[in-house]
């Protein structure tokens, strides 16, 4: 790649993703030394309501989702030297242990990749318009926003 500006890939999809394949794409720059990526997994247990989760369904706001994620990534580029970012978020019906989200960040040096990936995940959690409903045998519950996700943003204030 001769283009030096950071690459952005954003995908909202129902299909699963292959992390190895995504990392191959992120490492194609000759100057990439570090790739940090986050994989979110559907948990099989809801601690708040103390019950098993059989499945969950994710809905989102098409158009706004992509633009909000892009804003987060652009802010990330302003703070750290990054070569490439990929964000994949699944929607629709998912089962426990399914992969739900991938955030991959490549950089020349590892700390930029760690901080960039952490930053994108924290902001995605509070800004990207997705909503989860958890399903068990008897009922459906819309997941409520977690205040700790607002707390997590404080580390980026400085």
């Amino acid at each position: 790649m001769t283009n030096n500006s950071p690459q952005i890939n954003i995908k909202i999809q129902n299909e699963d993703f292959d992390v190895s394949k995504e990392i191959k794409i992120l490492q194609q720059h000759n100057n990439t030394g570090a790739i940090v990526n986050f994989v979110g997994v559907v948990r099989g247990y809801d601690e708040k309501n103390d019950q098993i989760i059989n499945s969950m369904t994710l809905e989102h706001y098409p158009g706004m989702t992509e633009s909000e994620i892009e804003k987060i990534i652009v802010n990330c580029f302003k703070r750290w030297e990054i070569t490439c970012v990929t964000v994949i978020h699944r929607v629709g019906n998912l089962k426990p242990l399914d992969q739900i989200v991938f955030v991959g960040v490549s950089s020349k040096h590892r700390q930029n990749a760690f901080d960039g990936c952490n930053f994108i995940m924290d902001w995605l959690k509070t800004k990207a318009p997705f909503w989860k409903i958890e399903e068990n045998n008897s009922e459906k519950n819309w997941v409520s926003f977690n205040d700790s996700d607002n707390e997590a943003l404080k580390k980026w204030e400085k």
Binding site: G40, L58, E59, H60, Y61, G63, M64, S67, E68, H89, I100, V101, M121, L124, K125, T126, K127, A128, P129, F130, W131, K132, I133, W142, V143, S144, F145, N146
Partner: protein, 83 residues
Amino acid sequence: MIIKYFSWIKEHVGKSEEQVSLPSHITDVIQLINYLNEIDEKYNIIFEKRELIKIAVNKKYSSFYTNISDNDEIAFFPPVTGG
């Protein structure tokens, strides 16, 4: 004007979106909310906890005091829970 609803707000309103002709005296989001509440009390339950509701105008986060016109797309949704 298109109004979209997501998550449990969508379930309360009973639809994911609706077309509304905006009266000309309504110029911001808070006026729209008051207008909807007058039309049908199904909206009350949603807007009685206004501080918990997120607003987007044309797919951008907005506030109660964002100006709107009949060509805009407004969305009401609870805090997000992706990731």
